[in-house]
Symmetry: C2
Subunit: 142 residues, 2 copies
């Protein structure tokens, strides 16, 4: 993989998480392949098949307030031909009353190059236990 | 994707689940890329990086008795160039005393063609709620 390819794939991955954080379905429209082949697993859910179901799920999440913020403390990318897969840990923070709480998810994101852009073909996120307490404490203290 | 390619990818996926069911680490050796690039998420776990960690995790699972059986009631494959990804629901059955119990997981498996074989590059399994009760009952009655 070239540095340019790696940059472009990581940028496509960033654009996806910006769309999640923004709660803007228009941004979400821009990052996915929009056909029946796409697939999406939200943490703890079975897979959703096809753009119609995937888009509806994001609309539902956004209309319920969505998440406050997502950080990606660990991320890596691999590319082969016109396919790429990005592995990342998502640190999702959200408000409960006046408190900010965290959950962690492990994600696999598969992208396909359409000739000009890397578009999301699959997002699979699954809940994972929080890292060691001292790591979380350090992050809160920063 | 050609029918031959699809057949070969689904066969590689089958070989992986045969290895899981067999509890035979030698079979597991045959289905994976064996380098630092491979990644594996067992249900509810953070990702393991590299063949050494992935192989050790399977050895641990096998030495703890592993699962009794895995069925794949829902499976689909996509191929692009030398990459393929298979999406499946795993119905994992195991013995608790004299009873057989089920759990379900949603899996994404990424394969890479090395010129002669499709080898596993990433396995990401996450726990999902069981399907509707009547579906489970039907399966038990079969």
């Amino acid at each position: 993989m070239t540095e340019k390819q790696k940059h472009d794939v990581l940028e496509a991955n960033d654009n996806f998480y910006h769309a999640v954080k923004s709660g803007d379905i228009g941004q979400m429209d821009n990052v996915w392949i929009k056909d029946a082949s796409v697939k999406c697993v939200h943490p703890g859910w079975p897979m959703l098949y096809g753009w119609e179901a995937v888009r509806q799920s994001w609309e539902n999440i956004f209309s319920n307030g969505g998440s406050l913020d997502i950080e990606l403390p660990d991320i890596s990318a691999q590319i082969s031909g016109d396919m790429a897969w990005v592995i990342c840990i998502e640190k999702i923070s959200y408000k409960v009353g006046d408190e900010i709480q965290f959950v962690f998810a492990q994600s696999t994101n598969i992208f396909k190059f359409d000739g000009s852009s890397w578009l999301l073909a699959l997002h699979h996120a699954s809940p994972i236990p929080a890292p060691r307490r001292e790591v979380i404490s350090n992050e809160i203290l920063q």
